[in-house]
Each structure stands twice: as C-alpha cells, then as structure tokens.
Amino acid sequence: MDHQTLTSPASAELRPQVFDSISKLLPKVLGREIPAMSEDMKLMSELGMRSASMLELLLEIEDDLEIQIEVEDIDDAAMTSVGDLADFVASHAITDG
C-alpha cells in the first residue's frame, strides 16, 4: 500500500504522530518488546494481533493522542501492516479541538 496517499492536510500532519504512537503502544498491548518496528510489519501474520487486540490498540492511541477514531469503516486492508493502520487512524481521526 502506498503510504503517501493521504489527502487531507490534517490527516497528513497527524500521520507521523500516529506511527510514533503505534510504535510506543504496540509493545504494551502485546505484552512484549518488538525489535525493529517498521511501516511494513504485518500486524496479524507477524505480530499475532487479533481484532480484540487491534481495538485495544486503537483505544490506547485515542488516549495517547487525545483523538477519537471512527472505526465503522475499518476493514482487513486497514489492519494489514503498521503503516496501513497508521494511514487508517490518521484519516479517520476526530480531534477534540
């Protein structure tokens, strides 16, 4: 997936923060360290995440970045890699402001 396809300026601005937040929070949700976190790392097949842990991660990101994430549109493609999830969160975030 091309990670440069974000269209909204606000989403594009949020995107790096989301990736940093995922990198910080994934070890907490999974309960283990993740060496060499990358955009292409596969959430389910490599990291063993399931939908429940994915939703827990989204909650942690909401708290961390003080945003709300609209999950109604989430699909398998959005949960494939770390980068895909970062794209989804950045483009489906509603900031408190």
Binding site: G48, R50, A52, S53, L59, V71, D75
Partner: protein, 321 residues
Amino acid sequence: MLAAALPREVSVTAIEAVASYVPEQRVSVEDVAGRLGLTTMQTRLFRRFLGLAEIRLDPDGSLLDLLSAAVSRLAELRGREQLVRYVLYARAMPVVEPYPVNTLRELCGAFGLGHAVSCTVTHHACATGLLAVDVAGRLLAGDEDAGALALVLTGEKAFTRDAQYVPGTSIFGEGAAACLVSLHGARDRVLAYASSIRGEFDGRLDVLPEMASRFEKEYPVSLAEAIAAAVSQAGMSLQDIGLILPHNVNVLSWQRLCRRIGFPADRVLLSNVPVTGHAFCADAFINYTTAADRGLLRPGTRYLLAAAGLGATFSAMVVEH
C-alpha cells in the same frame, strides 16, 4: 459446505407468531467486566467500538422462569395448545441443567403442552434457533395432521464465564423467545434456509489463539456465504431483502459484514445490541418482535434472519411477512 433445506413439495414452513421476553434488570458492560476480571481496555472497547453497553439479567430467576415469560406472552398459543405436536427448545449450550431436572417438560406441563413431543435442538450454537424453525417445518411436513403446530423456544441463562463472554467480541445476556410454527400458514413464510457447519473451529477460542485467528478471518466470509446462499435459494438478490434481523454479537462486526456484502447497515436491526447484549439463540426472534412493534414488517416484506454460532455454524433464513 452449505446445506440448503430440502424441498418439501408444496408445504411452506410459516412462523405464525413470535413473542419475546428480556428481564428487567439492566447490568452495564462495566459491571459484567468487573465480575469477569477484564482489564480496563478490554472493558472499554465493548462500549466504545463494539456498541455493547448493557445486558439484561434475572439472577434470581430460573431457566423455567425465563422460558415461561416468553411463552406466556405468546397470545396466539392460547386455546390452540392441543394442536401443538412438537416443542423444540433451541439452545446454544448442549448441557444446561443436571439430571433429573427437565425444564422443558416442566414448561410443557405448565402450559398445557404435556401431550407434545418435546426435545432439545442444539450443536449449531447461537445459530440453533434457525435450525429449530427448519426442523419444526420438517416435523410438521411429516405429520399426518395438516393443522398441527410446533413451538420453538429459545433462551438461556448466562451462568458461567464462557457463557457470558467472547473475548473482544461479545457479552451475553438473558432473553427468551417463543415461536409458533405451522405449515401453509399465511405468515411469515420461510422461503429459504441455508446453513454451513465448520467443525474445524470447534474449541475454546480464548485458549486456542491460532484457531481464533483463523476463525476471525473465516467468520465474515462464511456468514456472507450463508446469507448469499439463502437469498439465492429464495430466488432473490440482496436488494430484495428489506431488513436483516441479526444475532447481536456486536455492532461493528455487522457494519463490516454489510460493507463486505453491499447491504445498507441501517437495514440491519442493531438497536437491541446496546440494550440486551447477545442473548444466545434468541436474538433474531427478539429482534423480530422489535421490528414488528416498530412497524418495520409490512405484508410482503422479505427479511433475513442471520446468525453465527461458535463451533462453528453460519446460518441464514429468508422469510416473507
């Protein structure tokens, strides 16, 4: 493999009447989660993302109380008890009481149905309610009395951890329904039934992570296939379906499934999910009574009952009001 209902010549199973009951006591998902020992995040995702807010429980009530409350609301049964030849208790859990307790027979005795053949229908987990309607139709088709009726019951007590909670997916509450089934009835005519059994998913998903991962991937695919099979068997397309009456697993999974199959999520009756939780096999029928009360079912409305059961079974039934 998808199994379709066998042709029954000209007879058509009809759901003549449905009554439902949910206990008055409301319990928040936070309270349930506290009893189950869930973490804060495990708890929050139910309300925040999955659309589950509270369930109904009757902690002092028995299984007999639960089922009786539904049967007593089935006004169409009054005065027709002698016509009822079969009483089928559809349930998700195969064992719910110790020998010699027999709630079903007690209930039959209490409602003037002691003469009826009664049995449990199970092993389709939360999809067993739809199976029981199909079985009722088959039994009636083989009965020499064309006016015979069958009573299908659903409703279970959520009394153990496994019976209350599917990790990250759903929380079970108590609720019950009673359906009067006939052949040749004017309504609601069962047009098609399709069910797929995937025995490779038989196991406790919370302790079998590899199976759980495969099940998560397979769930939407198999449920979509069951829905497509039932709709096709009815000679229709999804556009002909006015309403889906779902099992109340959670809101998000139905939103995702709707996107997959191209069906508007606002035509899936999800309004009970936040207030009842997942009531085992009873959901679709409880949702039926909600739809009827709201005037969502008009003469000719074609609707679809859909349910998935752990273990795993994926079922759909197309019905015409």
